[in-house]
């Protein structure tokens, strides 16, 4: 069990400067592909805009980002570009030219690694400070559309001019942006970005291969922990949590256990601590659940579900102090065939599992017996010899 890996405080993020490049969709090697539109200067940021962007970036990272590391098997130059910039003494207070040059290199690699199936869009590169340390933040954006209403006055007549706008950069839907913030562990490396790490979100919007493009092909990074490990940890820690509170009655524990199995077995492709808490847990239990999962190293941000390590667990088992155990399916609980409750006021903590069903058979259960062996070590007495 790890300590909470994503304990970084995204609330500490400060935006120093940013630049945006346009990288249209293009098939690799297509000579007729639309050209990139690279910026030469950083964007102008007045204080209100800087504050607004910083808040949106904090919210985006807090809601979606997970720890990432450089993939040693990747030949992406991005980690090297970022490490060279951060370790070169220029971040934050350095000349804009160095930052601009680095950002153009990143945009060029984005273009070079694209296939025609990757959507075009904008690459936002920002010089930021995170927990007091310089970092580089990247967001892949697409223009969003909206409808705007603006009050106008002509003479004495007022009206709202309604217009369609198609060049929004950010809307309030934070869960669809591909974002990454990268840091290094300090100067003195080999310039290949070996010590680059950070946090990233690469939400799957159109299939796994397309989603892997941003994190893997472009950034040259991998998530610090694999999805199957995280899914198993989610399941195991949630199971412990369900049962560790002595004040939680048997009915509630059963409801939560069934919900957990349903979540693991559902067609959803993403696991979310917050989502599970809000959908399945009573209000008074949600914060404790989130805190215990965080302490156990289950990310707060959603992660892909990979139940390969937990698919064998499809039934609910009730273990009693007497050694009795009852195994049933979530469907039987949902159908009311099996009910669980603590309804003996004179015996608190004593649960009742009631099964209302046609009894098919009753049989003995135990370890298989051993046949007696003759004194000469041969088979049992009276046994026919092998032919």
């Amino acid at each position: 069990m790890t300590n909470a890996p994503d304990s970084v405080d995204f609330g500490s993020l400060e935006l120093v400067r940013l630049i945006v490049h346009e990288v249209p969709r293009a098939y690799r090697g297509d000579p007729g592909a639309p050209s990139m539109s690279l910026s030469d200067d950083v964007s102008t940021l007045d204080e209100p805009l800087r504050a607004e962007l910083a808040a949106r970036l904090r919210a985006l990272l807090a809601a979606t980002a997970r720890p990432v590391l450089r993939d040693p098997g990747s030949d992406s130059p991005v980690p090297g570009h970022v490490a060279g910039y951060l370790d070169g003494g220029a971040p934050g207070t350095g000349h804009d030219g160095v930052f601009v040059a680095m950002s153009r290199d990143l945009a060029a690699h984005l273009r070079a690694s694209q296939t025609g199936t990757n959507s075009g869009g904008l690459l936002l590169v920002a010089d930021v400070v995170l927990q007091g340390r310089p970092a580089v933040l990247l967001v892949k954006l697409e223009h969003a559309k909206g409808i705007r209403g603006k009050r106008t006055t002509r003479g004495t007549r007022h009206r709202f001019d309604v217009s369609r706008i198609s060049d929004l950069l950010f809307t309030d839907r934070v869960n669809v942006y591909k974002v990454c913030v990268l840091l290094t562990d300090g100067a003195g490396g080999d310039g290949t970005g070996g010590r680059v790490h950070g946090h990233a979100a690469d939400p799957q919007t159109s299939g796994r291969r397309l989603a892997d493009f941003f994190l893997g092909d472009f950034l040259g990074c991998v998530y610090q922990e694999a999805a199957d490990v995280l899914t198993q940890r989610f399941h195991d820690r949630a199971t412990v949590w369900i049962n560790e509170d002595p004040g939680r009655d048997a009915g509630t524990r059963t409801r939560y256990a069934v919900a957990l199995l349903a979540e693991i077995g559902s067609v959803r492709t993403v696991m979310s601590v917050r989502g599970f808490a809000r959908e399945h847990l009573d209000e008074q239990d949600r914060d404790d659940f989130r805190e215990k999962m965080r302490d156990a190293g289950v990310p707060g941000a959603p992660f892909p579900k990979d139940a390969s390590l937990v698919t064998a667990r499809t039934s609910v088992q009730f273990d009693f102090a007497s050694g009795t155990y009852v195994v049933t399916s979530p469907a039987a609980i949902d159908a009311g065939v099996v009910t669980v409750g603590e309804d003996d006021a004179d015996r608190p903590g004593v649960a009742t599992v009631l099964v209302r069903d046609r009894l098919r058979q009753v049989k003995g259960r135990g370890s298989p017996g051993r046949r007696p062996v003759r004194g000469d070590g041969t088979g049992p007495a009276g046994a026919r010899p092998d032919t």
Binding site: A51, A54, R58, R286, G300
Partner: protein, 324 residues
Amino acid sequence: MTGGVEAARVRYVAGRPRYEAAAVDVAAAVRLRAVALRLSCEVSGRAKDTAGFVMKARVKNYADPWRQVTDKAGVRVVVDHQGDLDLAVSTVGTALTVLRVEDDRDAQGGEDRLAYQRLHLQVLAPGRPGDDPDGPVECEVQVRTRAQDLWSRSSHALLYKPAVAPARSVARPLYRLLALVELYDQETERVNREMQESPQYQDARLLREAELVFHAHVGAGYHLPTSLETVPVLSPLVGDVGAYASRLGRFAVLHHNKLARAYASYGPASAIGREGGYPLLGQPESVVVFERLDTAPEALRAAWDVALPAELLDEAAAVWGSDA
């Protein structure tokens, strides 16, 4: 005897500056502790003037004036009502080394007479360079209510310090007033207790606690009607406000720099705040919101979304870096 008083007077004149410093140090220690324990009180200190020192030694006919005049340095702690007297004693006791306590409140007998109920603590003043290790500097701390303080100021010179004993026509009315002092203190304590048990008072007190943190970072005023809508939503989330006040204080200390940045960038004096953006950051209850985002974001979200505009909480969460 006169020689003893004279010797003590000479000694006191030479050493009075040290007792002035002792009164300042003891008062400062009590004030700091009172803030931490959320005790509302006024603290004042003084070194006894030389004439007062001599007159006390002579009126009391002290055999050893230097040792027996124990209030050479004196501090007075005045609380709002008698319900806070015990807290005041604890405040002094945890801030300083207490040598002895004189508490007349539970003295046996005397039900048939009126008398000023003394509550004094003799403490060691914080040490200063050059102090005699064998002669630590002491300070007398008097603890009283506002009503007791008013009576004491009005009557002390007439009853305890005149050269001639006061006539019955002077003394009796003054002591009669003590009955009013007792009635005032008891009623004030009762009213205060009822207020504290009232849900409306809980909301007002929560707002007050939030203000104490908020105004450390924001000098501007705020929109009270908004607070009157928001605080009742937050109040049930924090439990007992008295206990929560300590928690909020610790949060404010732990996240002082982060709060400072948040209010500087998004508060009412910021560029975006002056444009009307992030309005919740212009309200003191935003401090409670930040604390709840750290501690119990789900409970906060569940309570907020049914009663208040979700975007206000979304903005606060974005500023704080929370995924609530």
